[in-house]
C-alpha cells in the first residue's frame, strides 16, 4: 500500500509513498530551502514536539542532518547515545522503545543494523511516528528523497526552469544508472524504488556477486556494459563499497572492483556534460571514484548534503502534521 501523502504517517520505506506522496515531500522541502537561507533559520511549526534520534549504528551526516532539521522546526531533540545507554547493559530494542514512548515522544528517527527494524518499531509504538534513517541492507528512504530533490534541482538549473511546483516532471523519463554494491546498499534499494516511481528508467550495474538477481521488483533492470551505459545516462549514482557489511568478500579485491566499476578519468569523460553524478557519501576516493573525478563539476555531493536538511524538515513536518478541516480565514 502506498499513500498519496506523508501527512500523519510513518516513513519506513519508499514503498509507503506513491508518486504523489514523493512529489509532496519535494514541494514542501522547497519551502524549507528558503527558510535555510534566512539569517534566523528557525520556524515554530513543531514547537513543543519531541523527536528522539536513535542511532544504533554509526552515522555522521544523517544524524546531524535529522537533528538540525528537527531543531530548525523548533522541536526538542532527544539524542540517544547508544554507547552510553542501557542498550549496552543488555536492554532490548523493544524495551528501549517502550521507555522512549513512556516519555511522551512524538517521533522516533531510527537507524539500526537490522533490516526491518523500523517496521518492527512502528508496530510497537502507539502514538509516535517512526522515521527510518537506514535499516540494515533494506532501505534509507530519506537519502533517496534527497537524491530525487538534488537531481530535480540540478536538472531545473541546467534547463533554466523553476524546480518548485514541477512535481516529478523533470525526473520522468530520465535514464538513471546505479553503479556498485547494490546487494548491501540500502540507498540503492530506496533509490531504485524512488526513481522508478518518479517515472525514470533505472538500470543497475556492478560485479555479478553484488547485484541482486531480482532488481525488477524494485522497478530496475540489470545492465552489462558500463561504458555504453555511462554514455547514455542522465543520472549516475555511485555507491560506496560497504566494508562493514563485507562487500569486500564478494569481489577478488577492491583494486579489481575499482578497475572494472570505479569511475576514473577515462570513464568520467564518457559521461555526458549535462549528466548529474550523485554519491550518498561518505566517498571512498580511489575505490568507487577516483580523486580527480570526486571533484568533477557534475558531482552534486555537496548539494546532496545541503539538501539533506530541507528534505528531512519536510519529512518530520509532514509526519507530525494532521490533515484537518479547512477553516474560513
Amino acid at each position: 500500500m502506498s499513500a498519496d501523502s506523508l501527512i500523519g504517517g510513518n516513513l519506513l520505506s519508499i514503498e509507503d509513498l506513491s508518486a504523489d506522496g514523493l512529489a509532496e515531500v519535494l514541494e514542501v522541502a522547497e519551502s524549507f530551502v528558503e527558510v535555510n537561507g534566512r539569517s534566523v533559520k528557525k520556524i515554530p511549526v513543531l514547537k513543543g514536539r519531541v523527536i528522539a534520534s536513535l542511532f544504533f549504528e554509526e552515522s555522521t551526516r544523517t544524524r546531524l542532518s535529522f537533528e538540525t532539521a528537527a531543531k530548525r522546526l523548533s522541536a526538542d531533540v532527544l539524542s540517544l547515545a547508544v554507547a552510553s545507554s542501557s542498550v549496552k547493559k543488555g536492554e532490548s530494542l523493544k524495551d528501549t522503545i517502550e521507555t522512549i514512548e513512556a516519555l511522551g515522544i512524538d517521533a522516533v528517527v531510527l537507524r539500526h543494523r537490522s533490516s526491518g527494524a523500523a517496521h518492527q518499531v512502528s508496530r510497537w509504538v502507539k502514538e509516535a511516528k517512526v522515521i527510518n534513517a537506514g535499516d540494515g541492507t533494506h532501505e534509507h528512504p530519506s537519502q533517496a528523497l534527497i537524491d530525487l530533490f538534488t537531481v530535480r534541482r540540478a536538472v531545473a538549473e541546467r534547463r533554466g526552469v523553476d524546480s518548485r511546483g514541477s512535481g516529478l516532471a523533470l525526473l520522468a523519463g530520465a535514464r538513471v544508472l546505479i553503479i556498485g554494491d547494490i546487494v548491501h546498499s540500502r540507498v540503492a534499494r530506496s533509490e531504485m524504488l524512488a526513481y522508478a516511481k518518479a517515472g525514470a528508467q533505472v538500470r543497475v550495474i556492478g560485479p555479478g556477486t553484488l547485484v541482486p538477481g531480482n532488481v525488477e521488483i524494485y522497478g530496475a533492470e540489470r545492465a552489462e556494459n558500463l561504458d555504453v551505459e555511462l554514455a547514455e545516462a542522465d543520472v549516475v549514482s555511485l555507491l560506496r563499497m560497504q566494508e562493514e557489511r563485507g562487500s569486500g568478500r564478494f569481489v577478488p579485491s577492491l583494486h579489481e572492483f575499482s578497475t572494472l566499476y570505479g569511475i576514473d578519468e577515462r570513464r568520467a569523460r564518457l559521461i555526458r556534460d549535462d549528466a548529474v553524478i550523485t554519491h550518498p557519501g561518505p566517498m571512498v576516493r580511489g575505490v568507487e571514484v577516483s580523486s580527480l573525478v570526486a571533484d568533477d563539476p557534475r558531482m552534486v555531493v555537496r548539494e546532496q548534503v545541503t539538501n539533506g536538511v530541507p528534505i528531512r524538515m519536510a519529512i518530520l513536518f509532514l509526519a507530525l502534521s494532521t490533515r484537518g478541516e479547512m477553516v474560513n480565514v
Partner: protein, 189 residues
C-alpha cells in the same frame, strides 16, 4: 483570477455563490490609488519602504500598490511576499500550501514595512506575519494595508490603510481581486 480560482479549489465539496458585488474593478483601482497616497503621506515619501504581500491573496495587491507608488513618486519600492503557513496557530486545521513562496528583499532592519493582504478578518494571519517578519530583522515600523476589513477580530489589531470597511456575517466569504470585491457564501455542491 488565479487567486480566486485557487481559493475556491481549496473547498472541494462546496461552491462559492455570490450574493453581492461590493466593489467593481474601478472601485478597487481608486481605493489602491488612495491608499498609495496615504502611505506616502504617513511615511513622508517612500524612503526605506518595503511592501510585503501575504500569500496568496495579498501578492497581486502588493504588486499593484507598488506600481501605483512608482507612478506617483517615480521610485519603485521593493515588493516581497510572505507565506505565514509555518507560523500559524491553527496549523493542522489548514492544508499546507507548498506552492506559496516567501521572498523578502534583503534585511528588514531599519525598514518601514507595509504588510498587504486582501481581507482582514480574525487577525490571526497578521499575528503570524508579525512573528515571521521578526525573523527577517528589526523593522523600524510595520504597517498594515488591507483591501477589505470585514470585522470579527479575535486579536487586538487594527489596519493602517483600508480599501473598504465591509460589515459581514461570520459565515460569509469575501473574494478580493483587482477585478473587484464580492460577498458570498460557500454552498455545498
Amino acid at each position: 483570477m488565479a487567486n480566486r480560482e485557487r481559493r475556491h479549489t481549496r473547498h472541494p465539496g462546496a461552491a462559492f455563490v455570490v450574493h453581492a458585488e461590493v466593489m467593481t474593478a474601478d472601485d478597487v483601482a481608486r481605493a489602491m490609488t488612495r491608499m498609495a497616497h496615504e502611505i506616502i503621506e504617513r511615511n513622508h515619501g517612500i524612503d526605506d519602504l518595503v511592501l510585503v504581500g501575504l500569500q496568496t491573496g495579498g501578492i497581486e495587491l502588493a504588486e499593484a500598490l507598488g506600481n501605483r507608488l512608482a507612478e506617483i513618486t517615480g521610485l519603485a519600492p521593493p515588493v516581497g511576499s510572505l507565506d505565514v503557513a509555518f507560523y500559524r496557530d491553527d496549523l493542522g486545521l489548514r492544508p499546507v500550501l507548498p506552492e506559496a513562496v516567501t521572498t523578502i528583499p534583503g534585511d528588514l532592519t531599519g525598514k518601514r514595512v507595509v504588510l498587504v493582504d486582501d481581507v482582514l478578518f480574525t487577525g490571526r494571519t497578521i499575528r503570524a506575519a508579525l512573528n515571521a517578519l521578526g525573523d527577517f530583522g528589526r523593522a523600524a515600523s510595520i504597517q498594515l494595508c488591507v483591501a477589505v476589513d470585514r470585522g470579527h477580530r479575535e486579536l487586538p489589531l487594527r489596519p493602517d490603510y483600508v480599501g473598504k470597511n465591509l460589515p459581514t456575517a461570520r459565515d460569509e466569504m469575501v473574494d478580493v481581486s483587482l477585478d473587484g470585491v464580492q460577498l458570498g457564501r460557500m454552498v455545498p455542491r
